[in-house]
Symmetry: C2
Subunit: 375 residues, 2 copies
C-alpha cells in the first residue's frame, strides 16, 4: 500500500476552508490560513502544509493560539510598524503585517514591519512572495522554538530562524526560503524513521559533541537536556558555523529584537508562543526603472542556469525554480498526502463532525493511522 493518498488542490482547500471556521475563524482568516498551508504543499514543503493542521488545532485547544485575537499596531511611522499579535494565529498576523509593509513600501519606497506575540506562521516564503507578486522585493524572517545551538555551545538558544527573500524575475521569480540551521528538525525525523545515520556536522547531543544518532539527538531536543541542530556551516568555524549562527542572529534582530518580543530561547514556554516575525518590503522603483532591474536579474539568473555543470550534474537551479515546478506538477497531478496526515485529517473531520468520505474519500476511512489525539 502506498504511504500517501492523492488529493486535488481543490479538495484540500475545501477541507481546510470548512475546518478552520469550525476552529472559530471567519471566512477571511480561514482563507489566509488555508492559502499559506496549501502553498507549502504545492511548493513541496510538506512539513509546513496540511501536515501542520493538527498541530494548529492542538495549539488552539491548548490555548497557545487565541482564535479571538486581533493583531494590533502598537508603534508606527511612515516606513515601519510594530504589531502585537496578542497570541493569535501566525498566518493571519503575518498576512496583516505584510500587507501593511506593502502599503507603506508603495508610498515610501521601503518599509519594515516587525511582529511580537505571534505563533507559527507557516512558510516564511509565503510573505516574501506576497510582496513579489506585486512587483516588489519581499523579505520575511521569523524566530521559532529554540533548536539551534550557537557555535561551541551545547544548549539550543536560537530557532531554526528561517530567512526568505523573493524578487520578480522572468521566467521564474527569485524565491529563496531556508532555515539558518544546517538542516531542519523534520530532516532529522526522516532519518530517524529510516534508521539512517545523520551526516557529520548536522547535530550535537547533550554533551555538545557531534552525533549521527538521530533518535538520540531528537530525544535530547524533546527532553530539553541540551543538544540540538547546528547552524548552517556545521560544528566548527572551519566550515563556517559562525556564519550560520550570524544569519540566525540577523533573523533574531529583525524579529524579536526590533519588535521588543521574546527571543527564540523564551518562546513556546509556559503556555505562551511569543513568536516574532519581521517583514521588509522594497519597491525597486526607488533604484530606477523596475522593468530594467527585473530584466537585469532575469539575465543573471539565466546565466547561472546555463553555466557549466559539475561532472554528473545536469542542472543548476536558481532559487524558486523547484517550487515553481512543484506547484505546476501538483496543480495538475494532485498533492500526495502522507497516510499519517490523512489519518489525522480524518480524525479531525470526525471530531469536527465533517463527513469524512465526502471530504477525503472512501480510502481515508481505511487507513490505520496513529491513534487520534481527539479520541
Amino acid at each position: 500500500m502506498s504511504n500517501s493518498l492523492n488529493y486535488s488542490y481543490e479538495q484540500l482547500k475545501r477541507f481546510c476552508m470548512d475546518a478552520f471556521p469550525k476552529f472559530g475563524y471567519d471566512k477571511e482568516s480561514a482563507e489566509i490560513i488555508t492559502d499559506v498551508l496549501l502553498l507549502a504543499d504545492l511548493y513541496g514543503i510538506e512539513s509546513h502544509g496540511t501536515q501542520r493542521l493538527v498541530r494548529y488545532y492542538k495549539d488552539i485547544v491548548k490555548g497557545l493560539i487565541n482564535v479571538e485575537a486581533k493583531p494590533e499596531i502598537v508603534f508606527e511611522t511612515p516606513v515601519s510598524a510594530v504589531i502585537d499579535g496578542h497570541d493569535g494565529i501566525g498566518q493571519v498576523i503575518a498576512h496583516k503585517a505584510t500587507k501593511l509593509a506593502i502599503e507603506k513600501a508603495k508610498k515610501s519606497g521601503i518599509a519594515v514591519v516587525t511582529v511580537k506575540n505571534s505563533t507559527h506562521y507557516g512558510i516564511a516564503g509565503y510573505y516574501a512572495k506576497m510582496a513579489c507578486d506585486e512587483g516588489l522585493i519581499g523579505i520575511s524572517v521569523t524566530n521559532t522554538t529554540a533548536i539551534m545551538v550557537p557555535t561551541y555551545g551545547k544548549k539550543a538558544m536560537l530557532g531554526s530562524n528561517p530567512f526568505a527573500i523573493a524578487c520578480p524575475a522572468d521566467p521564474c521569480d527569485f524565491f529563496f526560503d531556508a532555515s539558518t540551521t544546517v538542516v531542519t528538525r523534520g530532516k532529522l525525523e526522516v532519518y530517524n524513521k529510516l534508521d539512517k545515520p545523520l551526516h557529520d556536522g548536522w547535530a550535537i547531543d547533550d554533551t555538545g559533541k557531534g552525533s549521527t544518532d538521530a533518535a538520540k539527538v531528537l530525544g535530547c531536543i524533546s527532553a530539553a537536556t541540551g543538544g540540538g541542530i547546528l547552524p548552517l556551516g556545521g560544528i566548527s568555524e572551519d566550515s563556517g558555523s559562525h556564519k550560520g549562527y550570524g544569519y540566525a542572529m540577523f533573523v533574531e534582530l529583525f524579529s524579536s529584537i526590533l519588535s521588543g518580543g521574546l527571543t527564540s530561547d523564551m518562546t513556546n514556554k509556559g503556555g505562551k508562543g511569543g513568536i516574532c516575525h519581521g517583514f521588509i518590503v522594497i519597491d525597486p522603483k526607488i533604484f530606477g526603472d523596475p522593468a530594467a532591474i527585473k530584466a537585469h536579474l532575469s539575465e543573471f539568473l539565466n546565466k547561472l542556469r546555463n553555466s557549466p555543470k559539475a561532472e554528473g550534474q545536469t542542472r543548476i537551479y536558481t532559487h524558486g525554480e523547484k517550487e515553481k515546478e512543484a506547484y505546476a506538477d501538483r496543480m495538475k497531478n494532485g498533492i500526495n498526502v502522507n497516510v499519517n496526515t490523512v489519518a489525522e485529517m480524518r480524525d479531525l473531520a470526525e471530531y469536527l463532525k465533517m463527513d469524512v468520505v465526502d471530504y477525503l474519500g472512501e480510502e481515508a476511512t481505511k487507513i490505520k493511522g496513529k491513534k487520534s489525539i481527539y479520541g
Copy 2:
C-alpha cells in the same frame, strides 16, 4: 627570524597617510582609505589590511582604479540612492555612500544606497560599523571577482560576496562580517603554503568534483579554467550548499542588481573593476525606544555567551567580541605585519621616495622580501 615585524597603529597610519597622497589622493580620501585598511589589521582581518596596499597601488598603475574619479549620485529618493563610482577607489566611494545612507536614515528612518562601477572596498564591516557608531543598524554588502561556484556548477559565477551587519549593544556591539563562501581564497592560500589538504566541502576543481588539493584549486581559479570555492554549506544541498548560494544571491541583489551594475561574473575584466556595493541603514527609533532595543539585544547576547558550553569548549563568542578584543590588543601591543608585506611596503616607500628607515625602521631594510614589482 620571526615572520613578522611589529608596528604601532600610529606608525602604520603615518606610512599610509603619507603614501596615499603620493598615489594622488587628497588628505580626506587618504584618511578614509587608511582608516578602512587599518581597521582590518586592528580587527585581525589581515588579508584586508596593509597587506592590500600594494594591490591598490598596482590597480592604480594598471588603470583599474581611477584616482581622479568623483562618485556621482545618479538616482535618488528620500530613502534611497544609486551612486556611480566612475571606477574610483572603493573605500572613498563606499564611505560617501554610507554617509548618504546614514543621513537619509536619520531623516526617513531607513535608507538603502547602492553603488556601481566601484572597486574593492576593503572589509564590508567597516561601513556597517559606521552606522553602528551613530546608534543605527548598518548592513553592508559587496560583490567581488567571481570565485564562488553555484551549487552543482563548476564555473565561478558569484563573488565571495560578503555580508556585514552591525547593531549597537553593550558591552560589545553586534558585528558580523563574513563571506558567503564557505571559506575565503586567503584560507586556501594559507593551506597551500602549509602544504595542508583542504577540508572536504571547501572547493572544487575544474571538473566540478570536490578537491582537497589547494595548489590545484588555486591554479584552476587563476587560470579561470573552472573550479572555485563552494558556497557556505559545501558541495551538496544535504549540507546546505543552496543556502550559501542563496545568501550570495541576496548580496548580488542588493549590490549589482539594484544598482544596475556588473554582476560578479563580469567584474574585473578587460581593465575594468565594476564592483558593486549596497548599504542599508536603519534607525532603531522607528521601532520604539532605541535604548530599550539596545538593552534587549545586549541581554540576549549576554545569555548566548553565558549558555552552556560544549565539552572541551570554554567560551561562546557573540559576533564582534573577537574583533573588539583584537582591536584592544593591537592598539596596546602593536600590529604584527608579515615580512612579505613589510618588504612590499619597503619597496613601495623606495619607489615613492619615502625614507624607509624613518617610516618602517632599520629592520625593514634587512628583510629579503619577494622581488619588488616596482624595481
